[in-house]
């Protein structure tokens, strides 16, 4: 019966067979406090299978999920306890992260779906949850987010519709970028919230821009007192040295060097002076 129903839905949506997901769904039902889905009656799922086996909803882009959510919401009204399925569905996407796993699951009727590599990790976890214990809850929280951008694990108590998933992906990206900025900008501590870090970043950018202005002012002052005609030789020198290494220039400036253009510039660190 489940197969027949799955077949009928094969065309518009690449649904899974119910059977492989039955066991997992029963376990995931435990996560739901209401537990509309009964513990051991797998056949109860058959009435809800149109909603439950749509793992492709989350296995690909959220845009695809949007087309699915319309269908799901429509059938949601028809079924009584479709709501717990939504939280269960998030586990389903974990089962088959990639589309190929879908075919494997469709062909197999048992728990051999866990043999496919992308779902091996989740398959092992499923085997551990052989009982319908509370362990399923903690395992769900421990499971890491897959590395791909699109696959986002929905944690307990979080909405699972495509919009919030996309939101979560976006937020993850932003947090990642913020962390990079944290390393660049001095004075950012990991304990700081986003607002504080943004403040720090803004201050830093402003201070850098002010520094550029200040230094350009200094350069103008230097240029008014200094004859830049002989600067050209120094320029060649600087270009050559910078091409090698940036630090070497500083070191050479401190120790003294002879320019190729003939302009000698000897000075010890004592004449460096406060600048």
């Amino acid at each position: 019966m489940a197969d027949f129903s799955a077949q009928s839905y094969r065309q518009p949506f690449p649904f899974l067979d119910i059977d492989p997901t039955m066991e997992s769904l029963t376990q995931f039902a435990e996560l739901n406090p209401q537990s509309f889905i009964l513990d051991n009656s797998a056949f109860n799922f058959q009435t809800f299978f149109p909603l439950s086996v749509n793992d492709s909803l989350f296995s690909n882009q959220a845009s695809q999920g949007e087309t699915m959510s319309g269908f799901i919401h429509n059938s949601n009204q028809s079924s009584v306890s479709a709501q717990p399925i939504f939280s269960a569905k998030t586990e389903v996407e974990e089962i088959s992260n990639k589309r190929k796993a879908l075919d494997i699951l469709e062909s197999s009727s048992g728990n051999s779906s866990s043999s496919s590599p992308p779902v091996s990790e989740t398959g092992i976890k499923r085997r551990n949850n052989s009982g319908r214990g509370k362990r399923a809850k903690s395992n769900e929280k421990e499971m890491e987010k897959p590395k791909e951008v699109v696959h986002v694990r929905a944690r307990r108590g979080q909405a699972t519709d495509s919009h919030s998933l996309a939101e979560r992906v976006r937020r993850g990206k932003i947090n990642e970028r913020l962390r990079c900025l944290q390393d660049i900008v001095p004075g950012c501590y990991k304990t700081m919230g986003m607002a504080l870090m943004l403040d720090e970043i803004i201050n830093y950018v402003q201070s850098l821009q002010n520094q550029v202005e200040f230094l350009s002012m200094k350069l103008t002052a230097a240029s008014t007192y200094y004859d830049f005609n002989s600067e050209s030789d120094a320029m060649e020198r600087m270009q050559r040295e910078k091409a090698e290494e940036a630090k070497e220039l500083e070191r050479l400036m401190r120790e003294g060097y002879v320019g190729i253009g003939g302009v000698a510039c000897f000075h010890s660190s004592s004449t460096y002076g406060p600048l």
């Binding site: 932003i174 803004i202 830093y204 240029s223 600067e231 600087m238």
Partner: protein, 161 residues
């Protein structure tokens, strides 16, 4: 590891030093009138930012925005009405609304950041942070190089005195 001769730093240095010599070659340095100095200051500042933008070329949104700003300013200065690349207004509205729904109280900071980073108005938060990171890196290079040039000038001046 990038080839040092083509790194951002060396590109900026060559360009900036070239601009500096050009500036100093044009104007007589002897007249220290305040307007002169101000003009010189502005030109050096513009040269610095421009050299950096040109060294980054068009690889970054902020550098593209900066370059288009320079070009529009130049053409506006010469009297011609240029087809300035203006950001799409709908894009701005979309991003602002998006921010409001997502990040509530952080709009102020993101807006501030947008003002600071050139071309930031039309970027979403994700890209904005990315561009900010690169912009900060370029600014630090700029500051570093300018500081070395200033030091070099001072040292040469002291030794020649």
């Amino acid at each position: 590891v990038k080839n040092p001769s083509s790194s951002l730093k060396s590109r900026f240095i060559t360009r900036f030093l070239g601009a500096l010599t050009k500036i100093n070659a044009e104007d007589p340095i002897s007249s220290p009138s305040p307007t002169r100095i101000l003009q010189l200051y502005r030109r050096i500042k513009v040269a610095s930012n421009k050299s950096m933008a040109y060294s980054v070329r068009s690889r970054r949104i902020w550098s593209r925005a900066m370059l288009s700003r320079f070009r529009s300013r130049r053409s506006a200065f010469s009297g011609r009405r240029s087809s300035v690349k203006t950001t799409n207004c709908t894009t701005i509205n979309v991003t602002i609304n998006e921010n409001k729904t997502a990040k509530g109280g952080l709009d102020m900071q993101t807006d501030e950041l947008r003002e600071l980073v050139p071309g930031g108005e039309a970027m979403d938060v994700c890209n904005l942070l990315d561009e900010t990171a690169h912009y900060i890196k370029c600014l630090t290079t700029q500051v570093q190089v300018m500081r070395k040039i200033v030091d070099f000038c001072h040292i040469s001046k002291k030794s020649s005195m």
